[in-house]
Symmetry: C2
């Protein structure tokens, strides 16, 4: 059925398929079948439900209003995010998950022709966005200990993207903001993005830099620590000027992206700081306890400041463990990529889930 009409043969020139933007399709993490016994530790979702205010906010959503477009700038959610961080409301860009924010930032800022720099081991989407938007890039190797060497980013480039804490290593680079500031100070000609999807679970934030440098974007999400992956809310914080450029591009692609439900429910999530702090603390405590158990089973772990554990076993290959866990209905993430192909990334679930994980690993090791 290629423009299959027979009358059409005389016109057949090059096919429309020659002009496709061809990409290496990104494959999202496996969504296992919904069964009772499944333990899903493969996409870094939060193990506890969003705060009790969300169910109330759902009840009070007015279906009649859904006939009207939402606020194009996701108000009043954007202002609430700004207030929660102590920045100006024109310093916040709200998007459909942090992927939306990062993707728009790539499109807006990385147009110099010089390569964008990010670590060789990091969030795999950076490479995918560069590919789809035809942005040249260079992957800068982490050192042997899986750390970022900041001096590697003191050279000509078209932009810099640093995930901190990094994924899938879980490592936070420094407790001292000067580590981050050094990268910014050495890059006045580039936009420097700090992807802080996991920062609520530990690690130092670069947020204070947005008021000192106008070329810094800090990106966060409601999908991890706010237990809200299902509603797709992310945001970026930067100088007013930087955010304005992003909004100009965003409004040129889709004026209304955050739907009314996301805006209203997002507000309720943000208003319950107490619940947020308590549940995040619980995940951190489960993480530390699970790490010790894994170490007692012969695993080496990184110093994760996230809601996942990055680990390898001293003798048993990760690919084998991953497969055996999967057979048992325990889904973790395995990356068949250079340097990390012997690691597993295990999302921190509830205590009960992590207990079952450790018991099973204990039984097969």
């Amino acid at each position: 059925m290629r423009n299959g009409d027979p009358d059409n043969k005389s016109l057949s020139g090059p096919s429309w398929e020659e002009n496709i933007r061809r990409v290496v399709p990104y494959v999202p993490g496996e969504q296992p079948p919904v069964k009772d016994n499944i333990i899903k530790l493969n996409t870094n979702e939060f193990p506890y439900p969003p705060g009790p205010g969300v169910q109330k906010a759902l009840q009070s959503l007015d279906a009649d209003k859904l006939r009207l477009y939402p606020h194009p700038d996701a108000e009043p959610l954007s202002s609430a995010i700004a207030d929660s961080l102590g920045v100006g409301r024109d310093q916040v860009f709200t998007g459909v998950g942090s992927d939306d924010v990062l993707s728009i930032a790539f499109l807006t800022f990385f147009n110099s022709g010089a390569p964008v720099l990010f670590p060789d081991i990091t969030y795999s989407f950076y490479e995918v966005w560069a590919d789809v938007y035809r942005i040249p890039f260079e992957k800068v190797p982490l050192d042997e200990g899986l750390h970022i060497v900041k001096e590697d980013y003191f050279r000509e480039n078209g932009g810099i993207v640093i995930a901190n804490p990094n994924a899938p290593t879980g490592i936070s680079e420094s407790e001292d903001i000067s580590w981050f500031e050094d990268i910014v100070r050495n890059n006045p000609s580039s936009v420097v993005i700090f992807d802080e999807a996991y920062v609520d679970f530990g690690g130092c934030s670069a947020l204070p830099l947005v008021n000192k440098y106008d070329n810094v974007l800090v990106v966060r999400t409601f999908s991890k620590s706010r237990a809200f992956a299902g509603m797709r809310i992310g945001f970026g914080v930067g100088s007013e000027k930087l955010i304005r450029y992003m909004k100009d591009v965003k409004f040129s692609i889709n004026s209304y992206t955050m739907n009314r439900a996301a805006i209203e429910l997002g507000l309720s999530v943000l208003s319950d700081e107490d619940y947020f702090r308590k549940t995040v603390a619980r995940v951190v405590s489960t993480r530390e306890r699970t790490k010790k158990e894994l170490e007692s089973l012969g695993f080496e772990t990184t110093d994760s400041k996230t809601n996942f554990i990055f680990c390898r076993h001293k003798t048993v290959p990760a690919a084998r463990l991953y497969e055996e866990l999967r057979q048992e209905g325990i889904y973790v993430r395995y990356f068949n990529r250079p340097r990390i192909d012997n690691y597993m990334r295990i999302t921190v679930g509830t205590d009960e889930e992590m207990e079952r994980l450790c018991q099973f690993l204990g039984s097969i090791l």
Copy 2:
């Protein structure tokens, strides 16, 4: 505050601002202040609420599940859309409003270097997407009667976009699908997009062509006839191959865009065909009655097959009428652009709203 650190001067090369993707910022339609007496006829929203099933679906949404990512392909909504149209489920691309679908289609298909063709008077976003994605384009003039001349599209091009019914003219080009098929048959080397945002209010759909030609994309939305602008749901229908290419690009930008609320509530909207048909028929009937009233006041109108009326007054300039209506709290759309700068685009509201509009116009004319 341009990378303001004083230590930094010796490093100052070109500014990061030199590499911004600069766009002419698109300005969405005015969102008037929420006041009781406002009549909002400027963004083509549906005047009646979504069907009663939506409030029930809201009540039954499970807040606890919102911690989990949604289905990346918006299932089961995508399959329900496919079923409702009698096409295969791999023939449907679901997006955050039809703007999302169209924007991804531009990015995926329009890469040949030859200009993309669309009418000079049509949905203004086509030009904006071409601009942001750096796609060459040519605007093909409508004829004197504001009709599309199909033969103008029988020449080399990098893609074709036809809104039918067209906006803001409201005109549907033909009741005969061969009009649309002629354009497709003459363009085997391009993807031909039919933007049918308004087709439920009248006009001929090109949908049957997606099973005959593999280079046709038909785009629709829940925002107009389905009373669901606030939830951002649009979709595209094409050959499996065409849709696969779009999904590859989409999954390379953002794997999860339709949130759980949109998927669930979208399902409930789609299931109430009876309510849909009744309320659409009511809008059509209000449109026809209002047109007659406007004509009796000295307006000329096009033969709109949409949920808006496109009209000009025989003697009074549109800019003046627009401004006087606005002062009265009645918001309509006025485009200060060549050829149509004496028209107003008036969304069809409730009978009561249209009555107040006509009464006011009668009082000032």
